[in-house]
């Protein structure tokens, strides 16, 4: 059998594919964070909690309203975005003029409160959420068994990431948004309602988190801490990609997923730290991140 790095090639391909799947989650989550940081200058620490709430809305919808997975995929982001918009209007909007630290502390506090409430209501062990019938089963690729659902996760995430990138970089709306971050006063003077745009951006960012939460629900158990386990890694991804860089967060998300996948075969004990080692190296060499502009 052919081997690479002393590992059978088949096993290596399998692990790389799995890395890509995990990378899809990192990409969608870090994309939302990068968007919010880029346009609002807020380090949204409640992103993980919002991802968790997305998964819970899917479960609640299924249990109490009979809403299936596909409905949840639309419903959960809308519900979480609506809550996000209220948070932005009532709390976050007061902090834009202050230091980053205030936004970070507020969103961190919110994350703790949200997680605490869900923990109190649903316990810690989590709740089962079945893979939708249409996506159950899997394909035997020869080198590994690929569950259809995981393939769907990669495709859905890619479409979402590319779509968001196009929206920001190639449309008129995106141009307004980018202009508003550079110079809000000037853009406002041109008759564009900047506060509304910022509010909607926050809503969109957290909707991405909720979408990832619904994607994750059938794979991991839906539990109140699912977000806090992931959020630190996602922050590292954003830092490596360059704070606020859309393309940076997407590419870095997938790349680090691959790297983590490789580490799990070569030296599993380091799998949870390899991303942070990369972060240290990147910060030393290129403090603005791989795709960041200026320092």
């Amino acid at each position: 059998m052919m081997t690479l790095f002393g590992i059978p090639a088949a096993a290596l391909f399998g692990q790389l594919l799995l890395g890509l799947i995990n990378g899809a989650f990192y990409a969608v989550l870090s994309l939302g964070l990068a968007l919010i940081f880029g346009l609002l200058n807020i380090i949204n620490f409640s992103h993980g909690a919002q991802y968790m709430v997305g998964a819970f809305v899917a479960w609640l919808g299924l249990t109490y309203l009979g809403a299936n997975y596909w409905v949840a995929l639309i419903l959960a982001p809308l519900v979480v975005a609506a809550v996000g918009v209220v948070l932005e209007r009532t709390m976050l909007s007061r902090l834009y003029k202050l230091d980053h630290l205030y936004g970070l502390l507020l969103t961190f506090g919110l994350a703790l409160i949200i997680e605490g409430v869900f923990r109190n209501l649903y316990g810690i062990s989590g709740i089962p959420y079945a893979v939708p019938k249409e996506l159950a089963g899997g394909w035997n690729l020869g080198f590994m068994y690929l569950p259809i659902y995981r393939a769907w996760v990669v495709i859905a995430s890619l479409v979402l990431c590319v779509g968001t990138w196009l929206l920001i970089e190639k449309t008129k709306l995106g141009a307004y948004l980018r202009a508003a971050t550079e110079n809000p006063a000037l853009v406002q003077a041109m008759g564009i309602n900047v506060p509304i745009m910022i509010t909607l951006t926050y809503g969109f960012g957290v909707a991405l988190a909720a979408f990832a939460g619904v994607l994750a629900a059938p794979i991991y158990s839906v539990n109140p801490l699912m977000g806090s386990n992931l959020i630190i890694v996602v922050f590292a991804v954003v830092v490596i990609g360059g704070m606020g860089s859309i393309m940076g967060s997407i590419v870095t998300g997938f790349m680090l997923g691959l790297l983590e996948g490789l580490t799990k075969v070569i030296y599993p004990e380091a799998a949870s730290t390899v991303i942070f080692m990369v972060m240290v190296v990147v910060l030393l060499i290129k403090p603005a991140g791989l795709f960041g502009k200026g320092a």
Partner: protein, 405 residues
Amino acid sequence: MLKKALIGAVALTALTAAQASAQYSDNKIKIGVLTDLSGTYSDLAGKGAVVAAQMAVEDFGGKVNGVPVEIVSADHQNKADIASSIARKWYDAEQVDAIAELVTTAAAIAVREVSKEKGKIDLVSGAASTALTNAKCSATGFHWTYDTAALANGTANAVVKNGGKSWYFLTADYAFGHDLQAQTERVVKANGGEIKGAVRHPFPNSDFSSFLLQAQASGAQIIGLANAGADTINAIKQAKEFGITQGGQSLAGLLVFITDVHSLGLDTAQGMMMTTGYYWNRDDETRAWSKRWSAKMDGKMPSMVHAGTYSSVMHYLKALAAAKTDDGMKVADQMRALPIKDASGFAVNGKIRADGRMVHDMYLAQVKKPADSKGAWDYYNIVRTIPGDDAYQSLADSKCDLVKK
């Protein structure tokens, strides 16, 4: 009339005399339940353990020889340093006489050191490591509910005897996981089985696909899960997703609580074998107690840690009454001497050994098929009762210095 009053007076004096001879410091008994109230283990231990301890006090009548009993509780967050500082505060400043529950081995060992130094009683229920009755044993320390040796002896024995000869481990990369893997390997090898390999995963970990693929490639018949809680749940769920169980390999959950099965759902968990110290639906006695507990816990059913906490606190109260003092050494002697029996139906054939191990019957359980389950929380078939002496490490192998050899 006069006669009755006389008898009454005599009885009363006798009672007060008995009280006067009993020596309880501060005229109060305080039992601390130190557990994980908010983290990974808060469902299998947590608030349910506090409720169980309170039930024991209520069932005992709220008083020991006329002295009131109080339960206090705190969250150790699964951290050894927090656990030992709370234990010190409780013993030194708040007149706590004993500490119960203590999930998470590191936290339990930290409290064990403090209790030993102060000559106070600890009643460990949730922690798993056999270290508590070996290198870390204490004359006033007890390990009540289960341990890694009992889990390995129960599950691994049964699985190897059913033909699961070759094993691969997914092991949580910390002391508990290593201990559980080592104990299980020992049993597998002793039964003529073979170890194909192991992978250590970070703790906690949510994505197991890559480790499962390695386990699949090993070709082992059995994938042993030497982890706990959310890690076990995610590993089992993803094994199903990746077609591992359909592909002919079986999973052996080495530490699975009923709360984990509840979270997985029967559809995913069905057929799995495990060892448990307690099952609520085993007989009339366990059902009656569990339903009382359930009424206080929103319809959930108790894990072995909950029932074990009740049983250990109840036995401690009986020993306090018999010893007529709260002196740790004297109470511990009574605990070893008194028969263990309580309303929860825990501790069948229970006895406490010199190393502090409460040896009792364990159960080999298999998770029911969804169709066989008759209602909420009806999850297990008890396949076999494992007599306590077979389940636990033999006293001859103990490294505890209290064991006379």
